[in-house]
């Protein structure tokens, strides 16, 4: 890795770029996720407690922040989550592996392809099944498109909250193009359920590559439009620079990953440092900024969108050359046999029947797979007892860790900056509450 390896004390060996944003640590001492009202203000009734409640336009879902205000200044903050707790893990334990694949998309419903990918990779790791190359590259293409989609939703909504309302319409114009691609390849805009344990559910339809090529060609120009619209906008810079500071030490101590971590000066991206799928055969740059504020998180996500377009272009080039290749493994115990084979071979009929009724079986064991989702490291811990149903599934949610940093980032800020900070952490409540 090109970055200098900073040896600050024995415990701090990690790739840090640039010097620290603030010295020491700003994580609240008593409880790391709760900002306590300073003692001199505690008993006076100058402090106004406000519910930044579950139904608030700017909390990106049902997050509730109990904010103590001294005038406009935020002096106390504690986040309350759980308003969207859906009991995914309990439900997935009741379903067979085949049916359980439908659930993970709804966890982080903005980066849904990545969620489905992490669960499918975990099953394949337990099965140690060999996935054909065409499926790997298609998964990578769809996950990168989903990353652009997720960053567009972030940019649209957080700019909307800071007053740049027209950004919402620009970003959702591009988002519609991406959803058209998902619909073309998988039949539905969101929650496509296109990945199977062993490859893809169906082959790629004929007209997909010209459309994908067209999107990949004119997306960079749209990205430049956003930059010209926002990057020299005085109000946007005033509202985002120097707001919500998070140093690299605090980011690592709070378990931050993804754009929040890279904006705090830690050069870490799972796609490059722990490559999965075929990321080592694709060249892309990992943007790292050292400001650690709302502006740098926005900058990291903008550059990541440009990088994702580059990766998507390389995927489309590569996939166009793999025309007739198999798109799913051919291990009959796990993968449904093709339809025409059912009329002739008895074994295929039996396998088909066993897979559809009882579900394929995954060898006993526990496994933890982590990928780079748009919000950070999205991990999936799966325990199997060898039966047709998962014994325990647990998703490591990057938004869950991101919201732990609200107390650290929102020290001595104004109530208006709090909206920018919560927007920049880009937490999706489904991912947080699972």
């Amino acid at each position: 890795m090109s970055t200098t390896l900073r040896h600050v004390g024995r415990t701090r060996r990690w790739p840090v770029v640039g010097d620290a944003i603030y010295d020491g640590s700003r994580i609240p001492a008593r409880v790391p996720t709760v900002l306590d009202v300073p003692p001199h203000l505690r008993d006076t009734d100058d402090v106004l407690t406000v519910n930044f409640g579950p139904n608030h336009p700017s909390t990106h879902g049902v997050l509730r922040l109990i904010v103590d205000l001294d005038g406009e200044e935020v002096v106390g903050l504690s986040a309350v989550v759980g308003y969207l707790h859906t009991g995914f893990e309990k439900n997935m334990e009741q379903k067979t592996w085949w049916k359980a694949i439908t659930y993970p998309e709804r966890i982080d419903y903005v980066g849904y392809q990545n969620n489905e990918l992490v669960f499918v990779l975990a099953i394949e790791k337990l099965l140690d099944i060999e996935v054909p190359e065409k499926a790997t590259w298609t998964r990578m293409l769809l996950c990168e498109l989903n990353r652009i989609h997720s960053h567009l939703v972030f940019l649209g909504t957080s700019a909307l909250e800071l007053g740049a309302i027209s950004m919402f319409w620009y970003c959702f114009r591009e988002r519609e193009n991406i959803l058209d691609l998902f619909e073309l390849v998988a039949g539905q805009r969101m929650h496509t359920r296109y990945f199977q344990a062993g490859g893809l559910a169906e082959d790629i339809p004929i007209g997909f590559f010209p459309e994908a090529r067209k999107f990949v060609e004119n997306m960079p120009s749209s990205l430049d439009d956003y930059l010209t619209l926002l990057d020299r906008n005085k109000i946007w810079l005033e509202r985002t620079q120097g707001v919500g500071l998070l140093s690299s030490d605090d980011a690592i101590a709070l378990g931050q990953t993804g754009p929040v971590l890279r904006a705090s000066g830690v050069d870490w991206d799972l796609r490059r440092d722990q490559p999965y799928l075929a990321y080592e055969q694709v060249d892309f740059r990992v943007p790292v900024y050292t400001g650690g504020d709302v502006y740098d998180r926005y900058r990291v996500r903008m550059d990541e969108m440009a990088e994702s377009v580059k990766i998507a272009r390389q995927c489309v080039d590569r996939l166009e050359r793999m025309e007739g290749e198999p798109w799913i493994a051919d291990d009959r115990k796990v993968v449904l046999p093709p339809r025409e084979e059912l009329h002739t071979s008895m074994e295929s009929l039996i396998h088909h029947f066993k897979i559809v009724t009882e579900g394929y079986r995954v060898p006993a064991g526990e496994v933890y797979v982590a990928i780079e989702s748009p919000r950070g490291e999205s991990g999936c811990y799966v325990v199997s007892d060898g039966g047709p149903r998962p014994w325990r599934v647990h998703f490591r949610a990057p938004s869950f860790a991101a919201l732990q940093a609200t107390a650290t980032c929102s020290q001595n800020t104004l109530i208006a900056d709090l909206i920018a900070i919560v927007g920049s952490l880009d937490a999706v409540m489904g991912d947080t509450d699972r």
Binding site: L5, R30, K90, W268, Y368, A370, D385, H394, R396
Partner: protein, 182 residues
């Protein structure tokens, strides 16, 4: 992989699917985590997961049917051999997934085994990120983390009884009615 035997409270190591699982005694969890962070450089706590093994490997929980060497489409008679999964040391397992931010991204799973009601030392002093992770496991699985600054329910309502993710907790919801007549 580097040798973990000098870790306080070390019990055993397991290498599986390319992942290292170090089982640690319940009483020394915090020292083991501090050791892993300081000496072995695992500076990020990714996740704390509790798993309930009630009814594991019991009758009717069908293990993997197949030969020891693996699946073979054409090898007849690979049915019948119901390989029951190995018996677990205790009912609950709490796994700490750690990551070292350096070349090769080494990962480690520190695992402790405990019965219902046994407290585990909280690792919030070692990694502040553990605050919500442990609260969630207390809320959903009922694992008591000793020394946690603010151990309360996180995801469920404050007056909720029971810990939903336990195996003996019913799934809840409603029986599906397929016709209004039912």
């Amino acid at each position: 992989m580097s040798d973990f035997s000098k870790m306080p409270g070390y019990v055993s190591t397991k290498e599986e699917h390319g992942e290292t699982t170090v089982v640690v005694d319940r009483a020394h969890v915090r020292d083991a985590c501090a050791y892993a962070r300081d000496e072995l450089g695992f500076n990020v706590l990714m996740d704390v997961v509790a798993t309930d093994y009630l009814g594991w490997a019991g009758k009717g929980v069908s293990g993997y049917i197949g030969t020891a060497s693996g699946r073979d489409l054409n090898a007849p008679m690979t049915q019948g051999l119901q390989a029951l999964p190995d018996v677990k040391p205790a009912r609950f397992s709490v796994s700490y997934h750690l990551l070292a931010l350096r070349q090769g991204a080494p990962r480690l799973r520190l695992q402790t085994w405990l019965e219902d009601g046994d407290p585990v030392d909280s690792v919030v002093p070692v990694w502040p990120a553990a605050d919500w992770f442990e609260r969630e496991q207390f809320d959903l699985m009922g694992i008591r983390f000793h020394g946690h600054p603010n151990l309360a329910r996180l995801l469920m309502d404050d007056d909720w009884e029971g810990h939903p993710l336990r195996k003996d907790y019913p799934i809840g919801g409603e029986p599906v009615r397929f016709s209004p007549a039912e």
